[in-house]
Symmetry: C2
Subunit: 325 residues, 2 copies
Amino acid sequence: MRQAGRYLPEYRAIRGTIGFLDLCKNPDLAAEVTVQPVTRLGVDAAIIFSDILIPVEAMGIELELGDRGPHFPNPVRTAADIDKLAVPDPVEGTGFVAEAIRRTRKALNDSVPVIGFSGAPFTLAAYMVEGGGSKSYILIKRFLFEQPKLAHVLFQKLTDTLIPYLKMQVEAGASIVQIFDSWGGELSPYDYERFCIPHLRRMVKELQATGVPVIVFGVNLSNHLSLLKSTGADVIGVDWKMPLDEARRVLGDDVAVQGNLDPLHLFLPREELDAQVRDILRRAGPTGHIFNLGHGILPPTDPEAAKFLVEAVHKHGAELRRAGA
Amino acid sequence: MRQAGRYLPEYRAIRGTIGFLDLCKNPDLAAEVTVQPVTRLGVDAAIIFSDILIPVEAMGIELELGDRGPHFPNPVRTAADIDKLAVPDPVEGTGFVAEAIRRTRKALNDSVPVIGFSGAPFTLAAYMVEGGGSKSYILIKRFLFEQPKLAHVLFQKLTDTLIPYLKMQVEAGASIVQIFDSWGGELSPYDYERFCIPHLRRMVKELQATGVPVIVFGVNLSNHLSLLKSTGADVIGVDWKMPLDEARRVLGDDVAVQGNLDPLHLFLPREELDAQVRDILRRAGPTGHIFNLGHGILPPTDPEAAKFLVEAVHKHGAELRRAGA
């Protein structure tokens, strides 16, 4: 999950001087906020500060990122709209992301690895077709069900954009990449399989060819875990709604899991938070686990709670490893 | 799911003359819109037209139901706020619901049964604490995690309100009642078990004592199915995100299932919709299944698609029963 953000006063100080989208496009400042949680919290990896909609804007669609979430004044809804979209050269269109990764690596001096990321084709298409966030996802789902061939054309174009975009991040120094399918959980397994999996599979395969592992994550996707595994991803992210031992039962031991603390559990009394951390580590088992929140951290979260969390993960993780659990 | 609604021109005609909340409180018109889908679609049961927030308003909290969803100008957030809430006499506070059920039964002349319903304590509390709908559920979840005892006081008061409210519906002629825990799926199984299950269990038990079966339903609750079964409910509703044969594997054959067509599948070409219906019936198996949408029907839905759906359920249901599947 994005580690930088409004819960950190040092982030708010920078955001007071620059808009969100401009911050994403400013490699110096993007690197600075990327490093902030490493410095303050002691996390074991840094995830580059950016937004999943950055490469979409580079496809030639106007994007506004306001306080009320992303907004596309001209949504994508017809064959002509899709035809107009470019498959941008990643460096020309989004080179600032690569530059931010390079500056982050330099600032971190290789103390911890950098995670690159992108959205998944379906999630990005959902924003583009809906024109922003949605509650019922009626427009994107009607698009899928009424014009399935056209939907695949859009997914294809997104996939063709995202693969070089992520490869650019790897070349710039990302040691691992994560694909966020934030809204994929709105689809039934039947639809997820036919509309999302083929494109994710291609992304995973081409990214792995560069030598980096790939994480795939989505919210409300715990009914789709075996489908996610079929993408060939190295790590499957799980939200907080399914205990990791149950996820393991579906996924097996030959894939790593990521997750899965409820971000709101950072508001639990410290003792209970500590117990939750230990429980998650225990359920994840000894093979391949990236401890993470099950979704993004929320602005009113106390940074001290986040710091306590990181320390608890380190403490219990070491204990469980010693116990051979 | 609510069967009446803006997708029906005959409903829109009535709503053009009266506000949503006033319609809920007008037994004649509420009965009329309840019967509309039975007449037009040929469904096998009628669900009373009402809103889950009706009994909450009767607890003495101001409620506005506008086009942008429900809004409580004075949210419930402190012990004093909870203290001020009444446990209303159901007939005094919400007798119009009973009256609407009686008039519906009369209008239907017992051709199909009437389903009564209420919200679950957690879902209602979420609206009351948030002050309306929410995206992150940060206020209700902080309330749970920071003030768990107070949360249970609120849940208790809601349960004490909802049980007589549903009993009143049964006395008025509801043959079965449904409890909607629309937002319960936001909680981890751990939190769902400690905050929701005890109150649901009490509701189910006391309602079953009146002789009617109880349905429990929520969205994104398919990771919580064994917990839902532990309430003792007769029927467990499943959203469209988990195939019913997988739900059966968790639930066993000694409880009925309800669901689970994606409401957006009503926009599929007829042939594909037909195949989905057959697939759902087949996966549900021969023991206890109420065919339903996995969530509410959306306003732009074509009533002809809904009618086609009902006919497909009847046709394939009869075929599968004949085949002994």
